[in-house]
């Protein structure tokens, strides 16, 4: 067990090193990103720019800069942003995390329930119009660009129909902390949840349907039916239970990258100051420390999610538990 954890850690270090080195190199290869000039501001005298360059150590060799930055990110944790100067990136990432978590967890609950519902209903009504209709809906969910769908949701709920009973409850955009204002938290997040989940309900519904249909060819389903079980029990306790395994793998990966900030477009569109928007802003500003912080955080979650998937695997698939 301990060894397994160590192995994960080694993996994580490798991935993090790879990504951070890449990010670093890309940053310094990008023209127009000279941090000294941008920190100095518009119309700055050359002396000022040089002074800042020296002050921030941008004149040092890249490996030294890399080492310094990584130390400040991980050891002293006082790495500050190039753009919002004085802003420590680590606490910033930590304070953005709950927003993203709220968004992603809520959406995940929705899409898991929705995906299972769609998949199960479609598999049960295989080849009927209900099945086909659901699959088409799922595809529409998959093919809608999320930023566009988000804007349309805003158009509808915040502007066009905001005065009608349907959407008058919708609060302004922005995040409300769960602890201080749970009801506001819920109300502000419900539309973003739905928007983000629409895509995944589509994907998961389709995948689940496919695995369920496949599972129904299996011998053990025949055994279950021969036992005289009701169709719903056969579906839920036997077919679904086994089909959840690929579902969980996908879920782990998607959840990992989303918590890591991949929901950036949703966050931007809905004014949620989460990791995604932080990443997005950092990218637009080419704010290297912030990019590094968010990316490290993201890769951390990707690896953690991978590890979690393995744990959940063990829970739902006893075959892995063997040995």
């Amino acid at each position: 067990m301990l060894l397994a954890i160590l192995q994960r850690l080694a993996q994580m270090v490798f991935v993090m090193f790879g990504i951070s080195a890449l990010v670093f190199l890309i940053f310094f290869a990008t023209p127009g990103a000279d941090p000294a000039a941008r920190i100095a501001g518009r119309n700055a005298a050359q002396e000022t720019v040089e002074a800042i360059r020296k002050d921030f150590g941008f004149d040092r060799p890249l490996p030294v800069q890399y080492a310094r930055m990584m130390t400040r990110l991980f050891v002293t944790q006082d790495l500050t942003s190039f753009v919002n100067r004085g802003l420590k990136v680590v606490p910033q990432v930590l304070s953005a995390a709950p927003v993203t978590l709220s968004l992603v967890i809520g959406a995940a609950i929705l899409w898991v329930i929705g995906g299972i519902f769609v998949g199960v209903v479609a598999a049960l009504t295989r080849d009927t119009f209900i099945d086909k209709g659901l699959m088409v809906l799922a595809l529409i969910g998959v093919s809608m660009p999320v930023f566009w769908f988000g804007e349309v949701m805003n158009l509808v709920s915040q502007s066009r129909f905001h005065d009608t009973w349907l959407f008058s409850w919708v609060p302004g955009l922005g995040y409300k902390p769960l602890l201080t204002d749970p009801w506001g938290w819920f109300k502000t997040l419900i539309i973003p949840w739905f928007t983000l989940a629409a895509l995944y309900i589509g994907i998961y519904g389709r995948v689940l349907r496919a695995t369920l249909v496949e599972a129904y060819q299996e011998d053990f389903i025949r055994t279950a039916r021969a036992k005289g079980l009701s169709p719903s029990r056969v579906m839920l306790r036997h077919a679904l239970r086994t089909s959840l395994i690929p579902f969980v793998t996908m879920f782990g990966l998607d959840f990992g990258v989303l918590v890591g900030g991949a929901a950036l477009l949703t966050e931007v569109v809905f004014g949620l100051n989460g990791i995604g928007r932080l990443t997005y802003q950092a990218l637009l500003n080419l704010d290297l420390p912030m990019i590094l912080a968010t990316v490290m955080y993201a890769s951390f979650f990707v690896v953690i999610a991978n590890a979690l998937v393995d744990v959940v695997y063990v829970l739902i698939d006893p075959r892995v538990r063997a040995r």
Binding site: A37, G86, G172, L286
Partner: protein, 533 residues
């Protein structure tokens, strides 16, 4: 008087402002953005300050922490300021001359962005720029705590001196302020409000300064709202919706084009349109083909349909076509347009024929041209339009939008070989040199540097000399100097290192409850003087 009555009636409440993104550090000596300079107004004070008043009155410089605006002595090289008594920082300490001295030193010690361009005329500044850490400004800024005076010595007379110390970079801060960019931790100020908290990804909260007692309504008036919350992160569309739904009171960014009509009709009484001292322009790299040929640059100026661009910006109400550098109503501005159908004082229509002919003559037809724009709706639209014009002129033109925050430094660096771009300039203070000298002097051009604001890379020694002369002249005879500036403006336009496009207007959309909207031409909406109750 009735200000007191209004105060009594409308004082209180929380005002909610919104911007798409925060603007970085809240160190007033470092931050160099319109967004935060505006919010610094009710927080920090300098020795002098732009008046917190409507329109052009906002250009007037009034005494702030100093009792009065001193006259120059020593051939215009020395100013002696007497500090007002009893003004306290929000940390409870009184403002003393040594705070002033420390503040000026701090500008250099923290490598303030304008330390080399605004404050390099102070005696001792050279040493400070070389060795910021040990900056003393020996003989430059001298405080006398006993007398309560501060003496500032310049190496040369400077007509723009007061304007330069009226901007937030010359804010007076407590002497013990740490010598480092304050970042997100607010430095105590003397204004009516203090920044209580700041999280660039969340919000900034301003509360009343408990130590504040109004000493000058012009410079630092008491504000109406008890609290000002500045939220960051809502997109423009979202912020407009929020204002319409009464959740937010104002947004910093210009409203998106597709909402303008709605705002102008359904919410007409909540919209305030005011002129800005700024212009949108297209700098053309005079060192790169095809724009190293003056005919090509002139052709672009002829060909651009400024009416179309005004339409892109939101129509005639929101912008005005221009074909010169200094904005209308700006010191030194004289109506003139040489690149129009029938040249005269005003732009009327593009002269495509002339433009095509010039291009023909230049022999550059068919060359590749890339327009670099910022990645936002208006800039992209302008760039796309320019690309369209350039193709019509016979070039193989394309347009490329890059991230707004990078574009500005990107187009400055000659290494990036930017041929033509779309940019804007907003004045720092109302002086012609702030446009002409800053944007087109040889000193502003540093090849290979990301900080080279002369984007066109245009260096004309002759005109450079004329500009220096005009600056000198304005010390003694501002009017004559302005006439000189007008000529310089025209001379530059003949060489056409850039194509002025239009002068934008500022659209402020406020919520229903916002009252007493005052717009200063210098720092725009005077936030603290509006009420929400």
């Amino acid at each position: 008087e009735d200000r007191a009555a209004l105060m009594a009636e409308h004082r209180g409440g929380t005002m909610v402002l919104s911007a798409v993104a925060a603007a970085g550090t809240i160190d007033p000596m470092v931050n160099y953005t319109a967004e935060f300079w505006q919010i610094f107004q009710p927080v920090y004070d300098g020795l002098v300050k732009f008046k917190q008043a409507s329109r052009a009155e906002g250009f007037v410089i009034v005494p702030d922490l100093a009792e009065a605006i001193p006259d120059a002595t020593n051939d215009g090289k020395t100013y002696v300021f007497t500090l007002r008594k009893g003004i306290k920082f929000s940390n409870g300490k009184e403002v003393t001359p040594s705070d002033v001295v420390a503040s000026f030193q701090r500008i250099f010690k923290i490598n303030g962005p304008t330390s080399g361009s605004f404050y390099n005329g102070i005696v001792g500044a050279d040493a400070c720029l070389k060795e910021p850490a040990s900056c003393t400004l020996e003989g430059g800024v001298i405080g006398d705590d006993a007398a309560g005076t501060v003496t500032i010595n310049l190496t040369q007379p400077d007509s723009e001196f007061f304007a330069k110390i009226a901007v937030p970079h010359a804010s007076i801060l407590p002497g013990d302020t740490p010598i480092e960019d304050a970042g997100t931790k607010a430095i105590p100020g003397t204004g009516a409000y203090v920044i209580e908290s700041y999280d660039p990804n969340e919000k900034m909260v301003l509360k009343r300064n408990p130590e504040f007692k109004e000493w000058s309504v012009d410079a630092q008036p008491d504000g109406y709202p008890d609290e000002i919350v500045y939220r960051f992160g809502l997109t423009e569309e979202a912020a407009i919706n929020a204002i319409q739904n009464g959740q937010v009171d104002w947004l910093f960014d210009p409203p998106p084009a597709d909402r303008l009509e709605e705002l102008g009709t359904k919410y007409a009484d909540q919209v305030h349109v005011n002129p800005l001292s700024a212009f949108w322009y297209a700098p053309m790299n005079t060192n790169l083909a095809p724009f190293d040929n003056v005919k090509v640059r002139q052709a672009v100026n002829y060909a651009v349909d400024r009416d179309a661009l005004v339409g892109l910006y939101g129509g005639t109400v929101l912008a005005q076509p221009v074909c010169q550098i200094l904005p209308p109503d700006f010191p030194g501005h004289e109506d003139s347009c040489i690149y129009t159908q029938d040249p005269g004082t005003e732009w009327s229509a593009p002269d495509m024929e002339k433009a095509k002919q010039l291009v023909e003559e230049s022999g550059t037809k068919g060359q590749k041209v890339t327009v670099i724009t910022e990645d936002n709706a208006v800039s992209r639209a302008v760039g796309t339009y320019l690309q369209s014009v350039l193709s019509e002129l016979g070039y193989d033109a394309s347009v490329k939008a890059i991230s707004t925050n990078i574009q500005f430094t990107y187009i400055q660096n000659t290494d990036n070989k930017v041929q033509i771009s779309v940019s804007q300039w907003f004045m720092d203070y109302p002086q012609a040199s702030n446009f002409l000298n800053v944007l087109l002097s040889c000193a502003s051009f540093t090849p290979g540097s990301d900080a080279s604001i002369n984007i066109a890379g245009y260096c004309n020694k002759d005109l450079d000399d004329k500009m220096h002369a005009a600056m000198k002249l304005s010390l003694t005879d501002p009017d004559a100097a302005n006439a000189e500036w007008a000529k310089i403006d025209q001379a530059f336009m003949e060489q056409a290192p850039l194509a002025p496009l239009f002068t934008p207007k500022n659209v402020d959309f406020v919520s229903k409850r916002v009252g007493n909207f005052i717009f200063s031409n210098q720092f725009r909406w005077v936030i603290s003087q509006s009420w929400v109750k």
